[in-house]
């Protein structure tokens, strides 16, 4: 199976993660061909999940389709990269009915468009107008600070590191002062 995939899709990137889990990374235009081939020839009948991972440094989303054989003993992760700007990849709803809900989820959380999916409406959020929340540039704490408020009354928090430093310096100064005072006292007594 690996040889066929390597020849046909010009990829060397096949990983055996566990004995029941393989992973392959292919070009974006070849991914559906590969999925259909796995489905037709190698009995990967079930689409288990579509996942997405945001690699903001490398400017792309990694979309992974996880396929499982009909006896559920083998899983195959088929991964491809799509650009972060105007992210878009064709829908799989025509082949796998359950892809609709998974794509809807990703559309909401990452703002990826799936042409061919008729039902890309809001799933968990309601009237959301900000950046899609799972994109890396969306800072949830900043959003909370802008829109909501926490309870007051938690004052008195000390920065422990600074406090330790301050106390150590204070102690040192005190010690030095004491020493100095002692020295002065002894000097005075010497002078006498």
């Amino acid at each position: 199976m690996f040889a066929t995939i390597k020849n046909r899709f010009a990829t060397t990137d096949i990983e055996v993660k566990r004995e029941d889990l393989y992973k392959v990374v292919v070009q974006r235009d070849a991914i559906f061909e590969l999925i259909f081939m796995l489905r037709e020839q190698y009995d990967y009948q079930t689409l288990n999940a579509i996942t997405c991972c945001d690699w903001i440094e490398e400017e792309h989303f990694a979309i992974t389709y996880i396929l499982t054989t009909s006896d559920r003993k083998q899983s195959f992760m088929v991964q491809t990269m799509i650009g972060r700007e105007d992210a878009q990849i064709d829908s799989l709803t025509h082949t796998f009915e359950q892809a609709e809900i998974m794509e809807r989820d990703l559309h909401e959380m990452y703002g990826i468009d799936f042409p061919g999916n008729q039902n890309l409406v809001e799933l968990s959020l309601e009237n959301w107008v900000h950046t899609p929340p799972l994109r890396r540039e969306f800072d949830t704490l900043e959003f909370v600070n802008n829109n909501l408020s926490f309870r007051e009354g938690r004052d008195g928090n000390m920065d422990v590191k600074k406090e330790m430093k301050r106390l150590r310096a204070l102690k040192k100064a005190q010690k030095a002062a004491a020493k100095k005072a002692k020295e002065e006292a002894s000097e005075v007594s010497d002078g006498n």
Binding site: R151, G153, R154, G156, N157, M158, V160, K161, E163, M164, L167, R168
Partner: protein, 130 residues
């Protein structure tokens, strides 16, 4: 739906009536109090003679629930920051990660768990010294 007579299926559920003879398993709460298990994760305690004010608990707390505050009580001489933790019970999830990382093992979770209040402003908790 087709209707047919199912004698055993109709009679066997009547066995439930035997439960009337059994002792009820109710814990009549205010009168009978069930002991919590040893090691139940309830409210915090902090032994001040051991606490070194290192703020490891504050660092590991993902809920930002712990404030290190100045204390006017007698503290450990090794407490180099003279601070002790105060817990925000509007944030705490009783995961006990703070007690796991405590180097002198002074911060612990106790069996006490009851906290009912009418005012949300009662949410700050100073761990008991034991």
């Amino acid at each position: 739906m087709k209707w047919s007579i199912d004698i055993s299926g109709t009679l066997s559920p009547l066995g439930i009536l035997a439960a009337m003879m059994q002792k009820p398993n109710t814990i009549a709460y205010p009168a009978v109090k069930k002991e919590t298990a040893v090691g139940y994760r309830g409210f915090h305690t902090n032994l001040l003679v051991d606490c070194i004010g290192c703020a490891n608990c504050q660092d590991v707390c993902m809920n930002d629930a712990i404030d290190m505050i100045k204390t006017d009580k007698e503290y450990n001489v090794k407490n180099s920051s003279q601070c002790i933790p105060r817990i925000d019970y509007g944030r705490c999830c009783w995961c006990s990660l703070c007690t796991d990382v405590c180097p002198p093992d002074s911060l612990k979770l106790d069996e006490e768990y009851l906290g009912v209040t009418q005012y949300a402003s009662d949410f700050l908790y100073m761990p008991k010294d034991k």
